[in-house]
Amino acid sequence: MNAGIKTLKIDGRDVSARADQTILEVARENGIFVPSLCYLEGLSPVGACRLCLVEVKGASRLLPSCVTRVEEGMEVTTRSERLERYRRMILELLFSERNHICSVCVSNGHCELQSLAEKLLLTHVHFPYRYPRLPVDASHPRFVADHNRCILCTRCVRVCDEIEGAHTWDVMGRGIEARVITDLNQPWGDSESCTSCGKCVHVCPTGALSEKGRSVAEMAKRRQFLPYLTMMRTQR
């Protein structure tokens, strides 16, 4: 582990960081808000959702801060009109892609997609909704997977693989046809690898994965366990 210290500027503020840290980690350590959906502390970052894009002086393109290491003398901008426009557009595309009906969703009021939309002042979706016909898998005795609410962040895939070690979840298909699956696309209830630990449910940012029997707005997620689990497994 490189313990060298780097100094850089984020939004004009001088900050220092360990060389192995990402821009996102350093920004959050310093109380600077950078939106994200696929990133979750305790899981490996994948840079999939693109909401944490930042401007770095000298770089020709925007960089995902969750997978970009800090560098000496870096000048990072986390807030600009261009970034806000892109971030809102990403959210609009997520909303238009599947059926995110907040008012009747189990996670209404506890959803990261919903609260980010509020925070980024999203008022309209300018793209036509696709209204795909997607199934609800309620075959598991304790949990429900509702693909209508999934944003393909793959937190469930990573927590199941990296923390639980079961690797029940994965992704099938490409592009807009992509979908998270259990085992080899079998009903969740028939999965032999699933340990029913429920970690996937609690890391899911939306109502896509929920506990069975929860009514509308009742599915609040508890994620505090994750950093502790990671710490106990890697730093003991």
Partner: protein, 476 residues
């Protein structure tokens, strides 16, 4: 030109969208009348594939006026899918919520929608014949109406967290117990609400003489009446069994299990309306015409079961020897039901058990089918679901209060049109009386077609060849 048609489109001061067609014969007399409900929403279809636990909140979105009624009927259907008996406190809390809904909805119809006709006159200036006109001319009455509706809505908010589309009613009970503060706040508001409704009842009974003509011609004909009654024949809005009485007030069927509604209720479909026409099966279609709602409930019950409401009920039933037949008296029945609801809420809240923290039963889908029946402000509401083994909805059927009244509303329009419409032009007063018949039923067309929107009204006058003679439109 021998036969013509008048169209009233849209109908105003009701919930939803509709059009009325009046068909005239050679002599300019009204031959037939039809209410067309012109909206379509397909809630029964779009819930397919959703987990049943989502149904109460999903179905509540049918309507913003009476989401609570849908919550209750839907949750009762879900209870059956669970196969549990829900905790007693949950039953009572749902009951209070349902009665609060009745208070606010009845107040909305009586004061906001119908009082302008009753106080400013059926022939009054249409620009002033609305709530704002009422505020100018009868400020006390307008204030009373707003206050009473607010009281009902506040009970809903105190129990369920918000006034419209709360998610508090769930499969297996309710999600949170009641707090002592909420109970005390509700109880503290009851005396004022009682004063308002008693003052209004007094006024209505005095004013009834001015509306003799309307009472005589507003859907005043023999029909059956259908609805829930309690175990001792008392007024009941949450549980109970179905009773049917005829126009003479005789009980023709009693103790019918609500879950077996398909044995005694048929649903006919007419080509010119999105609203189905339910009928009482043993009498066939369309002779099995029946009415539901406040008028029906007071005709069905042997008594209300609370002190002040029982006295008013007895006086009400003196109006006629058998059942009270004129739909004009829906207004009267609504006021008596508000009185009953307030008394009943007070009774329930005085029981210490209401604060029990055990308000929810937990189970998974144990039965493939569930049927929930409750009395909504407008009448008997039926939610019927089928689920697969995982609890995912496969099929749903709803019969909404307004739907039950469809046949009677059509016949009521015909009766009023025959009495008040003459020739091929529509006078403003005649038009308003035809609309007022519909308003007396307090239809919620948003609910009954499970459709959304305000309710503007259009009346068309059509000749024998179907040609349009006259048309009157009003914005909603």
């Amino acid at each position: 030109m021998s036969q013509r048609r008048i169209v009233i489109d849209p109908v105003t001061r009701i919930e939803g969208h509709a059009r009325i067609s009046l068909f005239l014969d050679e002599n300019g007399q009204v031959r037939d009348a039809r209410l067309h409900v012109t909206q379509f929403r397909a809630f029964e279809k779009l819930c397919e594939g959703r987990p049943f636990t989502e149904m109460p909140s999903l179905m509540a979105r049918i309507c913003g006026i009476c989401p609570v009624s849908h919550l209750i009927a839907s949750a009762k259907a879900c209870d059956q899918i669970l196969g549990t008996r829900i905790p007693p406190a949950a039953v009572q809390l749902r009951r209070v919520l349902n009665l609060a809904q009745l208070v606010q909805s009845h107040a909305l119809n009586f004061f906001h929608l119908s009082a302008p006709d009753l106080l400013l006159g059926m022939d009054g200036d249409p620009a002033r014949r609305n709530l704002f006109g009422l505020i100018e001319s009868h400020p006390q009455m307008a204030r009373d109406g707003i206050r009473l509706r607010q009281f009902g809505q506040q009970i809903i908010e105190r129990l369920a967290g918000k006034r419209i589309h709360p998610a508090w009613v769930v499969a297996g009970g309710v999600s949170e117990p009641m707090t002592a503060e909420a109970r005390d706040a509700i109880l503290a508001g009851i005396p004022e609400a009682m004063t308002i409704v008693q003052r209004t009842l007094g006024w209505f009974k005095n004013a009834m003489d001015n509306f003799r003509e309307e009472a005589a011609a507003f859907a005043n004909f023999p029909t059956f009446f259908l609805g829930l009654v309690g175990p001792d024949g008392e007024l009941e809005h949450y549980d109970g069994r179905i009773r049917v009485v005829d126009a003479a007030g005789r009980v023709v069927a009693d103790n019918l299990p609500p879950e077996r509604y398909r044995d005694y209720i048929g649903e006919a479909v007419e080509p010119d309306s999105y609203l189905k026409s339910p009928y009482y099966k043993p009498e066939g279609y369309p002779d099995g015409i029946y009415r539901v709602g406040p008028l029906a409930r007071l005709n069905l019950a042997d008594r209300c079961g609370t002190h002040a409401a029982d006295q008013e009920w007895a006086e009400f039933r003196q109006l006629e020897r058998g059942a009270v037949l004129s739909s004009f008296y829906y207004h009267y029945a609504r006021l008596i039901e508000i009185l009953y609801a307030l008394e009943r809420i007070e009774q329930i809240l005085q029981d210490q058990q209401i604060l029990s923290r055990h308000v929810r039963a937990h189970a998974t889908a144990n039965h493939p089918e569930g049927i929930g029946v409750a009395e909504a402000p407008r009448g008997t509401l039926i939610h019927h679901y089928r689920v697969d083994e995982a609890g995912v909805i496969q099929w749903a059927n709803l019969i909404i209060a307004t739907g039950h009244n469809n046949l009677a509303m059509n016949r009521g329009i015909l009766q009023a049109a025959r009495r008040f419409v003459h020739g091929d032009r529509l006078s403003e007063g005649a038009l308003n009386r035809v609309e007022a018949v519909i308003r007396a039923f307090d239809p919620c067309l948003s609910c009954s077609t499970h459709a959304a929107g305000r309710m503007p009204l259009i009346v068309e006058l059509r000749g024998p060849e179907g040609e349009l003679l006259d048309e009157v439109k009003r914005a909603g």
